[in-house]
Subunit: 400 residues, 2 copies
């Protein structure tokens, strides 16, 4: 058991559809312990904490917390702020000032890094501050964990979108590209494969950052698919790389975020570039369209994977449990203990430094050639996304 | 009662999430009449019919038809083909060859025009061919009808997307533009207003084609909102016009469809253009993002307005009923007979020439100034979209 003291929790990075499940899971768990006095929230993550923007979560009704849990966005506000060493010293002093003994930070690998630095400062100062990173990311690219809360719901949205777009593309044939989020890893783009129900269904081609590809190859692939089916539905990661290993649109993209990452989302540039290249090379009369799926992948209201929502809440609760059991620090992970119809998970935790900074690509066994995804990936992702509705098709019976 | 003969039905133009409800509504109704022998489908509308691509819908199981009804896309295949007078003569001869006496065409105003021309030929030849246009369009811009099947579901998707994006934008503040479908009319863009739940919720600004606007005005509007809320969520119609009444991106857009309409969808150009203009004028450090909502607005699988689905089926059935009652031609319309909690509709029909070619803008009473939508629109659109889930928010209670 820890000392009596206050708990603080914050949210960082891009929101997900279930990031508030983790927040509320942690709050509900915290309410069970007498050692935890105040249950505080940072507004806008560590950026708000630096300005002592701290709110009282104990005063929220259970009903409000449940409604927040099922809403997208980061209810506490988020930030993309990478604290300097000096900032971390300041945060540490704020923790001391408010007698904060339990510190939880929901976010991606950058967030884990912040938690790690803060942990080092507290340890050096011999101040008992239990710090846990609670994972979230639609990118699913955190190490150590089987998968990340937030991914299943984003993958469900992408799958449903591709199911509908496949029927749209069957109705009015042409070449359709959909640009999917994923700067470094193709996890979310790969989820488009879950949309396939029948032979001939799209996406017919899936390009992920893990497999650099030339424009010639893309054009030839599409040409082949088009000759076979009279149409082509193509999934492309926003982080698509050319054979030099560079972003397809590198020269055009100059804006970087606080972590030095190039800005890819919130722009239709890659899709428009690819569409015009394909059109120019395959013939001007072809119907080529590109949609860039956008922020709805992480924030659409009304499409959530039930499994993802449940696990996100469990992961939030688990962080508090570990801290209350006496663990000083860590990053919560999900371990898969059963697959397919027997899908089951349990939570665990790992060292912060194993999660901080690094990312996890799609492994080779999930990628087929340069333009497709394997059955092993389908098996991996299916339980995370949940049961998907099936579309209906006419049989086109002859009138004779 | 008509002569014994065969019925044919086809789908045209951009699909909707409920266009198959109309198809299946017509088929189920047709099954009730002994005078109707064959129940045929055109593959890919009149374009397929010209090649005698005709399928037998009687052979489909009820279960298949029900699954098709609840799937997006045009199950028979669609087309954007505008038949010439010569084509219409050929179609007429195919109707005679197959003893087709009942002709139903599901589509927008271009589709009504095709039906109208075909009707004139049949009348001149003294051939009894009953022709009905069954309306569909996510654009909601058909005349005579209170609203169009397909609109409610697309509007529901847009509303849910904006609800989520509003929370996303609250989490990580900045300027966010969402480009919504609607070439000539702002109906779908206006539906973004249904996302608002509380004071300060986005969309904060809504630009529709009915109100031409200068870039200066847009930039000033956004600047004001940003100063007030520290963020701005903006809905923009793809058909946005400048103060000369021209499309904002006219010079860049050269591709036209078969009806001479400029191609606007399937490209991120307008959003990217606006985002870079705003960024340049308001300061380079601002976080400005643009998403172009894309084909998911008409084809996403899993978000349907129940009211829209039901009405789309009724409209399909109504077309067959009118034809069997002896009406020779017409376009089915929806009349609103009750509003608010007493929302109710009945079907009717009007002359084809009243629907063909022309479109219906947002009326003045639905538009507030140059950048917003009125409560009268909210009242109009709410029943079409159906009950929307409400998001949860923290109260940000002070810890003192």
């Amino acid at each position: 058991m820890g000392d009596k003291g206050n708990l603080i929790i914050g949210q960082s990075g891009g929101p997900t559809m279930v990031i508030n499940q983790s927040l509320i899971g942690a709050v509900f768990e915290a309410l069970k312990y007498d050692e935890i006095e105040g249950i505080y929230g940072m507004q806008n993550g560590v950026q708000g904490l630096l300005e002592e923007k701290i709110v009282d979560l104990r005063k929220e009704s259970k009903e409000t917390l449940e409604k927040v849990a099922s809403s997208p966005g980061a209810a506490l506000g988020s930030c993309r702020y990478k604290p300097s060493k000096e900032d971390c010293e300041k945060i540490f002093n704020i923790c001391k000032k408010y007698n904060i003994r339990y510190f939880f930070y929901i976010g991606g690998n950058d967030t884990a890094e912040t938690a790690n630095i803060l942990n080092e400062i507290a340890t050096e100062a011999n101040y008992e501050l239990r710090i846990f990173h609670i994972p979230k990311t639609i990118d699913n690219d955190l190490r150590e964990t089987d998968h990340c809360p937030g991914y299943g719901s984003a993958a469900r949205y992408v799958s449903l979108l591709f199911k509908g777009d496949n029927l749209d593309n069957l109705s009015l044939k042409g070449i359709k590209l959909n640009i999917v989020m994923g700067r470094n890893a193709g996890w979310l783009t790969a989820a488009s494969a879950l949309a396939r129900e029948k032979e001939g269904d799209g996406p017919h081609l899936i390009y992920v950052p893990e497999r650099p590809v030339s424009m010639d190859k893309i054009v030839n692939d599409i040409d082949e698919v088009y000759k076979k089916y009279g149409r082509a539905l193509v999934a492309v990661s926003e982080g698509l790389r050319n054979t030099d290993g560079e972003l397809m649109l590198k020269s055009k993209l100059t804006e970087k975020d606080a972590y030095g990452n190039v800005q890819l989302s919130g722009s239709g540039a890659l899709g428009d570039f690819l569409a015009s290249e394909i059109k120019a090379r395959l013939g001007g009369k072809l119907r080529v369209r590109a949609d860039t799926l956008g922020y709805a992948q992480r924030s659409f209201f009304g499409v959530v994977s039930e499994v993802d929502a449940r696990e996100a809440r469990e992961v939030g609760a688990a962080a508090v449990k570990y801290a209350m059991k006496g663990e000083m620090r860590g990053s919560v992970i999900i371990k898969r203990t059963g697959n397919g119809k027997n899908y089951a998970v349990e939570t665990g935790f790992t060292q912060l430094e194993k999660v901080a900074r690094v990312t996890k690509d799609l492994p080779d066994e999930f990628i087929k050639g340069e333009n497709d995804i394997t059955d092993a990936f389908i098996e991996y992702a299916t339980p995370l996304v949940g049961k998907l509705p099936q579309t209906g098709r006419l049989n086109f019976y002859s009138i004779k």
